[in-house]
Symmetry: C2
Subunit: 321 residues, 2 copies
């Protein structure tokens, strides 16, 4: 998928060029640091690919794309504080490298910076802002639900889907609806682009949960089974809960306190395999990917024959990291 | 100043009516709590008074006014975390009543909510957003400077003015420029309204420093001399530093470690009085108030004969709390 590298390189250059004041260095150095430790840049890529689908040059949608990426980075900085995460993409988080206060205000400025980039985007600003505000609010709600769920005993698959829809998928939807707004597309096209993003986001997040336990260790960037060790309520775990016998439920409960990580992972995988939760989860990934492809098919105003968005959906399914 | 109460009551009603979702309650209850513990509501009042000066009904500028107030509350919630402040207006701060994570995300949602209110405001949205983004960024810079200054040895009056301009005054400027944008006023009127707000803000903040030590204890809402006890670098202290003899400088340095608060306050006042810093500070208040009045005089597009903004400037000078 060569186009992915081309778009990523373009986005990286544009991120380098985002104007940030030099002073106070105590405020702007942490921003610069965090924006440059990278990431897949998937979200801004979606805005650019969407724009091209409508026949809009990527340069004409770049500010909206950057607004999405900058917002994403704001939310990561604040989430990392809340999750007390020491590392992000292998680098120290802002609150670890500096301190919590620095990370709070660095995040705040990035959020404002996202709005500044959006304000520079050509197109119907009131519509762009309306979608962005709604999305931003939902992402905060999703983050709060994620926190609340840690204490929730009887979590269902539906609860989980609701949470990841808010916490991660709506931003992909927003990234794509931006492209439709910039292209002045009709309501139906706007909606289908948004839903494509949400469905890809759901598939992507569910696949993340699967990879955490079932990825090829030689290709996976992180420790295998990290979610199991941390007793995270992943889609695998929730499918297990919904299908387990009384006996298996008891085993899962006991495993929560298992101190030996290797033992914990092996025994969990055994129960998960008995309950076929990997396949159940993969079915859900495919379900959302099919919905996403249907959404793209329904978009009427296609000006471009190269339909990168469908390719991207397939690519995301085959990834191993 | 009866009009102040009328406007405040109107703003309070409108704040009650701001739409906030019910769930997650863990996210929205802290917001509701903080928005309702009150405050002077001076900032949104400025937008409404500015609008009326231009012949615009207050109802037609209310969303911009609320955006300013909601933004102000966002910044207070996050500042209170950074300052580890247990109380705000006599009530528990959000991070004290709940926890730091709750206060971070509650602040984030309020910041987004401010943009949502702005998006609902009629008028040139791109201009409103541009002024708001610039202001919001500057306020974060001001907060960071305030933090940085705690470790700064050789602070000047100019440094201090720069900091309070960013941290508090530009939001008053923004509140008033909003009214000019909504009224479609010309560049010069926009600039004068903005500068009026900044100058009133500077006068207000300097007066705050004076009142902390020289207010009538029977009328002042807080402990007299709190800034002295906390070794805060107020305008009084900085005027003292700039004018003190070597001997007085040494005394001020020793006083920083004085444990008896009454002793500390009395001896500090003695040095301050010897150096006439109260009068020097009052002169600065009057200087900025005069600039503010000049700004209002220069505004060309006055549609309203009742010039509440000039009255307000005078009122702020006579306040004792």
């Amino acid at each position: 998928m060569e186009f992915i590298q081309t778009y990523k390189a373009y986005i990286e250059r544009e991120i380098q060029d985002i104007e940030l004041p030099q002073t106070p260095t105590t405020l702007y150095d942490p921003l610069r640091y965090f924006m440059q430790i990278g990431g897949k840049r998937l979200r801004p890529m979606l805005t650019l690919l969407g724009a091209e689908l409508f026949g809009i040059k990527k340069e004409e949608a770049i500010n909206a794309a950057l607004a999405i990426e900058v917002f994403h980075n704001f939310s990561l900085i604040h989430d990392d504080i809340m999750d007390a995460a020491p590392l992000r993409r292998g680098f120290q988080t802002v609150h670890t490298k500096w301190d919590v206060n620095t990370a709070i205000i660095a995040g705040d400025v990035l959020l404002i910076k996202a709005y500044e980039l959006l304000q520079k985007q050509s197109g119907d600003l009131r519509s762009l802002l309306s979608v962005f505000n709604q999305t931003a609010k939902e992402i905060c709600e999703g983050q709060q639900l994620d926190v609340d769920y840690e204490l929730e005993e009887n979590l269902t698959i539906d609860d989980y889907i609701k949470m990841i829809r808010l916490k991660t998928s709506v931003l992909l939807g927003c990234a794509l609806e931006f492209s439709a707004i910039i292209a002045n597309a009709n309501e139906s096209d706007r909606k289908n682009m948004y839903e494509y993003g949400v469905n890809v986001g759901l598939a992507f997040q569910i696949q993340d949960d699967i990879l955490d336990l079932y990825a090829d260790p030689s290709k996976f960037g992180k420790q295998i089974g990290g979610d199991v060790i941390a007793n995270k309520k992943t889609i695998l775990y929730l499918f297990a809960l919904e299908n387990a016998s009384t006996d298996q439920l008891q085993q899962l409960e006991i495993l929560k306190d298992e101190k030996d990580p290797q033992q914990k992972i092996e025994q969990t995988i055994k129960i998960f395999n008995d309950l076929d939760v990997k396949q159940k989860s993969l079915n859900l990934v495919n379900y959302y990917l099919q919905l996403a492809k249907d959404n793209i098919q329904k978009v009427s105003k296609k000006e471009n024959t190269k339909n990168y968005l469908e390719e991207l959906a397939d690519y995301l399914l085959t990834r191993e990291v």
